[in-house]
Symmetry: C2
């Protein structure tokens, strides 16, 4: 039996299904989790389906989570969407279920499910949920407008609205099926890109005050004074780490954000591998997206110097 | 005979085909014009095919134009892409041809062609060119990678990368066919969004220095001093007129740009009709995108006041 048929069979076999996803949810986590839940509710109105995890202020327009008791896990099927490893599953009670299924598109870290369906070629877990649905329905119209809305949001979120190279011919084909349903696409896009006036002004500061050296290293120092002026938290600045991606000649960049006793550094790159530099400064991460920590502004300058050497190699 | 078959028959009947598009070309103008030309060259290697109009610095990565003589128009078929009315056709020699075909997706202003194919429901003229090609080929693979690249660029340009409501299920379906060809999508996206460091810094200034009033009217005044500081021309500021679109609470905005003897105003709106206000200040345009002219900063404040009244209605 293929994996899609097996998952469908399991869904059919349980009366109660509880769906989880990763902590600090993004659009694809919510979209795949709640999209799958809504579809099961539509297809099997008699089943009890719950979505579990913390609510998210910025995603509340998409859906809200259910509150359930520990005993609800007894005899339940648990499906975990969009989560590569078990410590990142939001609400660790997932392990109380009778059987667990992992559905994910991230590189495999931990095969924590009794059944594991991982497709790293999929743009998003929402795309995989669409394929699961399409595999078991004869016509294009076998879902609700709300399911289409949730899966579209997930795909748009994880592909940067069809920007990243993970966007395939199949991704576009699925988008073409989803947008036939009359959900409000503009509302999803608006929620993705909307900035408060203070965040917009901080974004303006970031774009206005950066320096870029001859090697293509761009950097910005956000002092506590600046954060106070714009009334934003260290966490909120995370939403703006991509602001330098489209500037001509910039190969990589470091955003220094002053905390109480240290300076947090977010390092991003378009061309050069920067996790080696991050490792030199109490950090690490992916080749093009890493984090580090320095203790003062002199050390910040040393980090910029190290990035410059990488760019000049 | 349907219009697509008729156009295809005309293309087959002429030995020389000259393709035009509108002045101040954008991605869809270039994409549809050169995409069609490349496809005709691929399909009919013996025909002589020319693309006419001014070259564009910012689009030179896509294609460059051909230089032809007046007598080349004798006995030629002329196809004009993406142009609603004849005064906007780049290179008015289009009228020297033996027969003309208009292919366009804008609302009809002027049916200047002997044959006119206008589909205002299409996201872009590039999308229409894809349909013309698909109508006459049995398989998905009947084009070259370069044709796919040009049509994708046109679609992405006119839909704001699948953002605007003109993006339909068919648009996504066509995108799914085009991206099967191995052209460099990232290069197209990069060229769309890349900013020079000085334009990036001006964008930062715009996002940092705007004011927004209680009615949701946002405004910014770009003096000649500011333009000089950032070394950008009045024309270049046009690329940044959308910077306020994603700010929460902003209903409409006015960007004032000081010229030698007057102040140019670009007005944009998300919710309210603003061309009435533009008309009061020596201007006009579309309901959500207009232009005006004021003679001093006092008059600029009056225009903001007029926009405020519109927002409060």
């Amino acid at each position: 039996m293929d994996i899609l048929a097996l998952i469908f069979k399991k869904i059919g076999a349980y009366d109660r299904i509880i769906i989880h996803r990763h902590v600090r949810p993004d659009l694809d986590a919510f979209g795949s989790q709640v999209g799958l839940a809504e579809w099961i509710r539509f297809k099997f109105p008699d089943k009890e389906v719950h979505c579990v995890g913390e609510n998210s202020d910025s995603l509340s327009y998409l859906a809200t989570m259910d509150v359930i008791e520990d005993q609800d896990y007894t005899d339940a099927l648990v499906i975990i969407c969009d989560t590569a490893n078990s410590p990142r599953i939001d609400d660790q009670r997932y392990s109380l279920g009778k059987e667990t299924i992992k559905i994910d598109h991230h590189p495999i870290v931990d095969q924590y499910g009794d059944i594991n369906w991982v497709d790293t070629g999929a743009s998003s877990t929402s795309e995989m949920i669409y394929r699961l649905i399409a595999h078991h329905t004869d016509s294009d119209s076998e879902m609700t407008t709300d399911v289409a809305r949730l899966l579209y949001a997930g795909i748009v979120g994880d592909t940067g609205r069809f920007l990243y190279s993970s966007t395939t011919a199949q991704t576009f084909e699925i988008a073409s099926k989803l947008v036939k349903y009359p959900f409000d696409r503009a509302a999803i896009h608006q929620n993705m890109y909307e900035l408060t006036p203070s965040l917009a002004k901080l974004k303006g500061y970031l774009l206005n005050q950066f320096t870029v050296n001859d090697a293509g290293v761009c950097s910005i120092k956000l002092t506590r004074e600046i954060l106070n002026k714009y009334q934003v938290t260290v966490e909120q600045t995370n939403a703006l780490v991509h602001v330098y991606a489209d500037i001509k000649g910039v190969k990589c960049w470091a955003m220094f954000v002053e905390e109480d006793h240290q300076i947090r550094v977010r390092i991003r790159s378009k061309e050069v591998t920067i996790n080696g530099v991050a490792a030199q400064f109490n950090g690490g991460g992916h080749p093009f997206a890493s984090g580090a920590t320095v203790s003062n502004w002199d050390e910040a300058d040393q980090l910029v110097h190290a990035l410059t050497e990488v760019c000049q190699q």
